[in-house]
Amino acid sequence: MELSVFDLSKHLGVAPNTIERWIRQGKLPVSKKGTNYRFQSNELSKWALRNNINLDLTDKETPEKIQESNIALSDAVQNGGVYCNIKGNDVNSVLKACLEKISEIPDDFKADLLERLIEREKALSTGIGKGIAIPHPREQLSYLKHPMISVCFLDQPVDYKALDNQPVSVLFFIFCPVLKLHLHLLSVLSFCLRDSRFTGFLKSNPDPIALIEKIKILQKANPI
């Protein structure tokens, strides 16, 4: 296999100038084709072996940059579903009731997930104020096919030990298979929740379609 100066410079991790200088100094096994220098891969491998140099001449496929397929908030909500009138009077019962309603989580995993959610609340309340909480497990749920946000409207506000001590009436559950997507959704969601009009809109108990429409408008405004 023949290599050019440029190819070799990539494989050795040095500048093309350096390769040209080494040729001029007589340090590399090179042949000249017209005005261009060419290297034979078998000679190069021998040379590298003799001199203890790591030279990998196989064509490395440049790893495709893993598409940061950042999912849109509205799609996540569509995946997770919107549920209303969840009954419960404290954190744990409310979480249990929501989980029972959420159909996208396989039943076998619900008990485990509930434990994790409760554990998370114990560490630090996910009530971020203005009556909204964003419960989520610490570890990611690898059994999920796609990320989802389930929105649950509570029948009655519950004391959530939130940051502003206000009772919570809307829960945004964030369930993700991968940490990166979780962080992304968290970021996008917090952006939306900063908008006071949106939080006001949430208090009005909207129906799922309207909610998703509103979210779609909001996420367009997000510069991310």
Binding site: A15, T18, W22, G26, K27, N51
Partner: protein, 575 residues
């Protein structure tokens, strides 16, 4: 015509690029033969001129000969050959270290002519260094003709050098050893064969034309144990004399440069001085081979006192010749001074211990020669092998080794740089392969620069910059002026942390308010050593390179380490 050219090209390529060793051997032997011829020509012409001038020597005005010779020599070198004056051997080493042995073609003949003028008229210098210079230049020109690469050209330069020394002294091993020890500085297998062959070629050329087998003929010496003891003292003495010689040479050179006389004035004065000394002590004139011969044969006529004075007279005379504008080498003067020292030492030894059976005067002359060569050039192997080959016998080898090693070690201790290298070391140009200095000189800034940097405009709002930060992996952002792309300053992530975490600032500041304009920058003209020093002094891990107010790229220490290692591996590679 093109058909012939193509055929020639294919034959050339097939034959020689298969294995360049064959090519080097052939080219090397040609270089050896040519430099051998040059040496022979110089030697014969010197002999004839000296003979021709000999009858005139007892005239009162004969002291003017060396002056005229030196004058003509420096005039020729400056005006006709237009070669910058210089000793010669350091120039070859400089070119081998920096430029792969590229030497000017005119050096092949110019030094021969100038040293012929200097030495032939009686100047106290040796013909060896000029012949080394010619041989090296011949090797370099052959390499140019064959379009060889640096490594091959250096080998050919070595071949020329070896051929030259081998031819003058009829000593091929000394030629090989000198070439590798002094000129090339590295014992690489690929070099040794062509150089050895060149040395033999040069010696054969000299033998063919001047059929004597050894330069200095001698009777076999009897060397006994007391001699070995005496050698220890002799070694110390020769070391002292070597250091003295080196120092005197350099001092006279410096004085000459500072003096107000024009170039030929200096040469004239130097020559006159030598001439005057020569009137009283003819031993100091020219290269003195005949005197050396008489010393080795034991027929030297001077007594202890005169010989003692002669040592210093010769040192002074050589310094005056070479330092004040004459052209030649120090090899032969070293031999003469060495043999004088040996003779003096022997006479004193005999005077102090008349009953101890020590070897004859001639043996001590030889030992003295080894001592001075090892001391002045700090090339002990060359000293040993040269004397062994000159005398054609191994009987003195034990004392030779003793004298040589002790003398070179001692002089190295006092004067850490040999005569040839001192000048180069002072200029920072002593670059042996595989040394730090050499790597830093070979690596060019251009090869180390990383240029893939996103630049930011000085009028960018901070908020936009924060957004950019989210997706970029850079730690340094060069700030440039809109429109002209002029480099204005640098933003370092570590420096703007406090602003980045304060969202209140995002819409309040433009980048040109928080950029650092005091960052030290380097340019493409700086060499790597300077850039590294800048980074060390200012405690930086990365330095921006700015050329003509344009940002070019950055050099980081981590990249330097990577490439430094690469370079070292390739430079010291087994080929």
């Amino acid at each position: 015509m093109p058909a012939i050219k193509n055929w020639y090209k294919t034959v050339y390529q097939r034959l020689f690029h298969l294995d360049d060793r064959l090519l080097l051997i052939i080219a090397g032997s040609i270089a050896g033969i040519c430099s051998g011829l040059a040496a022979v020509v110089l030697r014969l012409s010197l002999e004839s001129v000296l003979e021709w001038l000999h009858p005139f020597r007892h005239y009162g005005w004969a002291f003017i000969f060396p002056a005229v010779g030196a004058l003509l020599s420096s005039f020729y070198l400056e005006k006709i050959a237009r070669e910058g004056a210089g000793h010669g051997v350091p120039e070859v080493i400089y070119s081998v270290s920096r430029y792969g042995g590229l030497l000017r073609f005119r050096s092949s003949y110019s030094r021969l002519i100038s040293s012929f003028l200097t030495i032939g008229s009686g100047g106290s210098a040796g013909p060896e260094a000029p012949v080394v210079m010619s041989g090296s230049a011949i090797g370099s020109s052959i390499a140019k003709f064959l379009s060889l690469n640096d490594r091959q050209r250096i080998t050919l330069v070595g071949c020329g050098t070896a051929g030259a020394i081998a031819s003058i002294f009829n000593a091929p091993i000394a030629g090989l050893v000198f070439s590798i020890e002094v000129i090339l500085g590295e014992w690489k297998f690929v070099n040794i064969i062509p150089i050895a062959i060149a040395a033999v070629a040069g010696a054969q050329v000299s033998q063919a034309i001047i059929p004597e087998r050894v330069l200095f003929f001698h009777q076999p010496f009897q060397v006994g144990f007391p001699d070995v003891l005496a050698c220890l003292c002799l070694a110390v003495v020769t070391a002292m004399i070597s250091v003295l010689f080196t120092k005197v040479l350099r001092q006279t050179g410096k004085i000459a440069k500072k003096s107000a006389f024009p170039l030929w004035g200096r040469a004239f004065i130097g020559g006159c001085t030598v001439g005057i000394i020569g009137m009283f002590m003819p031993v100091v004139l020219a290269e003195g081979y005949s005197f050396i011969q008489s010393m080795i044969s034991g027929t030297f006529s001077m007594g202890l006192f005169l010989a003692f004075v002669a040592v210093f007279a010769k040192i002074f005379a050589t310094a005056m010749t070479l330092g004040w504008g004459g052209s030649g080498g120090i090899f032969a003067p070293c031999l003469l001074i060495g043999s004088l020292t040996g003779i003096v030492f022997h006479k004193m030894l005999f005077a102090l211990f008349p009953t101890v059976g020590c070897a004859s005067e001639g043996a001590y002359a030889l030992l003295g020669m080894t001592g001075i060569i090892s001391g002045v050039m700090q090339a002990p192997l060359t000293g040993i092998f040269l004397i062994v080959e000159i005398t054609g016998g191994y009987e003195t080898i034990l004392p030779l080794i003793v004298v040589s090693s002790i003398s070179s070690t001692m002089s190295h201790y006092i004067e850490p740089a040999s005569f040839y290298f001192k000048e180069l070391i002072e200029r920072g140009q002593f670059l042996r392969p595989g040394t730090d200095a050499r790597i830093l000189s070979d690596l060019n800034i251009r090869e180390l620069i990383e240029t893939e940097f996103v630049t930011v405009s000085e009028n960018m709002v901070f908020r936009k910059f924060i957004e950019l930060l989210k997706t970029s992996g850079q730690n340094f952002f060069p700030v440039i002026e809109d429109g002209s792309d002029e480099y204005k300053g640098m933003i370092q992530i570590s420096g703007i942390r406090r602003y980045a975490l304060d969202p209140g600032m995002y819409d309040m500041i433009f980048l040109n308010q928080i950029m650092d304009t005091e960052v030290i920058t380097a340019s493409l003209e700086n060499d790597l050593q300077e850039v590294l020093d800048m980074m060390d002094i200012n405690n930086m891990d990365s330095i921006p390179i700015v050329e003509n107010d344009q940002f070019i790229g950055m050099i980081s220490k981590t990249r330097v380490l990577d490439l430094y290692r690469r370079e070292l591996i390739v430079q010291t590679s087994v080929h």
